[in-house]
């Protein structure tokens, strides 16, 4: 049973595509996290809860009879302001403190968000229906939900748009300058306060897009945010900060790895396997780093 995947080659195609499509979506969330981590040095524990909130926005418009796919436009707009407000209320007070305080603060935000969503939307698990149908390949032996293809496509689209925006626009340049050296940027006339607020807003908007996509591909519940935080955290750790292609690759790679771990080790070990991989990568990094240090000595 364990090696079913090697007996049926089509399963391998299925697993790869499933892993990659899911990985792209996670990479989008991770990108937001990497961005604000790099710029503001804040690890946002509430990342997953922002995603879920974005999902609930899409679900709400779905309840109003609008197609939930419009959520990928409406949800980020609303979430941008949520992020901005969050920065003005809480984050600006912890932004230049040490990492531990920002983790505590965002952890608090996560709890507040969960309870608020529970209060407003109820504790039921909900789904929005996109009715996009299914793509069948290889004589129906590989089936891909179009909603997943759509979500991967939208994620890539937004990621590219953001990269271009960061390169070309004034705000994008200011954000990159602040990430490199906040003090120098300030001296050269960059309003870092505004840059921080915008960064947090952009991150929240990315979460909003991902949430809207999750509402049509997976399920929503006020308390399922944490796995998304952990997943994006992991992707960022593997990829390193400020390296978008690496985030994309590491997102897809982890998605793939997880799917294959499911087939080979069994479903119960799939998340464990990903964590094991994370530990190995960290140990390897440290090993490499210590070697370097020796060399420098």
């Amino acid at each position: 049973m364990d090696f079913l995947i090697f007996k049926a080659p089509m399963l391998m195609v299925q697993a790869s595509l499933d892993g990659i499509l899911l990985g792209i979506l996670f990479a989008l969330i991770a990108y937001g996290m990497a961005l604000q981590w790099g710029v503001m040095n804040i690890i946002n524990i509430a990342q997953g809860d922002l995603v879920i909130l974005g999902g609930y926005i899409a679900y709400t418009i779905y309840l109003w009879g609008i197609h939930p796919a419009w959520g990928v436009i409406i949800s980020p707009i609303i979430m941008f302001f949520v992020g901005w407000a969050l920065y003005k209320l809480v984050i600006n007070k912890v932004v230049d403190r040490d990492l531990f305080i920002s983790i505590l603060a965002t952890f608090g935000i996560a709890i507040v968000f969960q309870q608020l969503m529970n209060f407003i939307f109820g504790a039921d698990v909900v789904v929005a229906q996109s009715e996009y149908g299914t793509t069948m390949l290889f004589d129906n032996s590989v089936t891909l939900p179009n909603s997943k293809i759509f979500s991967a496509f939208i994620s890539v689209l937004y990621a590219i748009a953001l990269v271009i925006y960061m390169r070309k626009s004034k705000l994008g340049r200011a954000i990159r300058a602040t990430a490199q050296n906040a003090r120098a940027a300030k001296i050269l006339g960059v309003d870092t306060e505004k840059v921080y607020a915008a960064t947090f807003g952009i991150n929240a908007a990315l979460c909003g897009i991902a949430g809207a996509l999750i509402s049509i591909t997976l399920t929503l519940h006020p308390y399922v945010g944490l796995p998304y935080t952990v997943r994006s955290f992991m992707i960022v750790i593997v990829a390193g900060l400020g390296n978008l292609p690496a985030v994309a690759v590491s997102g897809m790679g982890l998605g793939l790895f997880e799917e294959f771990a499911d087939y080979i080790l069994g479903t119960e070990f799939r998340i464990g396997a990903v964590f094991l991989l994370l530990v190995l990568i960290l140990v390897y990094r440290r090993f490499k780093l210590s070697k370097k240090r020796e060399y420098l000595k």
Partner: protein
Amino acid sequence: MNKIAKLFVTFISAITLALVSFTSSFAKVEGEYIVLGSAISLTGKYSSNGVHTQNGYNMAVERINKMGGVEVQGKKYKFEIIYYDDESNPKRAAQLAERLIKQDGVHYMLGPYSSGLTKAIAPVTEKYKIPMVEANGASRSLFTKGYKYLFAVLSPANQYLEVAIDLAVEKNGGKGVKIAQAFEQDAFSQDVRLGILDAAKRTGSEIIIDDKLPKELNDMAATLAKVKAVKPDVLVVSGHTKGALTAIRQISEMKVDVPMLAMTHCDAAKLSKQHGKKSEFALCASQWHKNLSYKDKFFGSGKKYAKDFQKEFGYDPPYQSAESSAALLVFKDAFERANSFDRDAVRDALVDTEMQTFYGNIKFGPGGQNVAKPMILFQVRCKGDDCENRVVAPTKWASDKFYHPIPKWSERS
């Protein structure tokens, strides 16, 4: 002067405290009220089912009180419930149980929502010898610990889907079937799994996929791809409401063809409402269905209960509400038979319970579980996107014929 004032305040508060603890030791029955206590999830992840449970309790309290209450030693008493919100947190639930017993002086408890929280509370009620009738903790391990004060009106978790395997074998001409199963890694779902393992052994069936889904997981694509490859006779899924919704979403999107699909938590997930005709033909385990023909004098029949519940709370009662209402009927019956408020007398009366309620027959086994009521299976059937749950097993209560096998996705509109 100041010192004297302080002393005075201390003195007064000491007396108040003493008085409070003094009165509370009689709080089990206050005037004409029998006070029951319950920690219940009004916030947190179980809050929707917590509210269903509370509504069920309240509905029964109101009905029993209106119809004359509980008669003990010739005097009529009414029920009253003290609720605390356990925030869906087992630790909090255990603390609140202590508080209900020690501070509020409650001598009879009603259960919380979910197996996990019941497990947290049961050791507390057991320690203080407080009889607890619970309606929402089905995990088998609750009934194997030798608890003497725990009584559950519902069938234990391992019975949830056994009927489904029997049904599959019956359809296969009495021969064993190939089973694919995916269960979430939590106490309840794993108990359901144990039931399937027993049933498979008993019927000579073979389990060809046995996936344990991590709690954090909301993607079953890998499991379903395996199912597509090995073509089992029956697919069994249990993972609370998230599992049910994810399964239907991905089975329909990946066009997984199985002759039979059995699940839990379909009605709690509002499956047929959220997924419409995609959920058609799914077979769901349920503790209760309004169409069953059980009767009692308080609620009449299941149908009447559903109607009254709808009128009162504005939605169709899920089985979580029905079983919660039944818990109070059990308490009333036990108080009247014990004809006393002595905890042990009430406990002994509970042991001897044998009654029919609108929810089903109730008789407690040695572990405290209800052994008199079978689980039922309903099947989702749709006209267009308008779906309803129809009881198909066991045969005695079936209102409709079981539709088997499920047509292939390519043949479904």
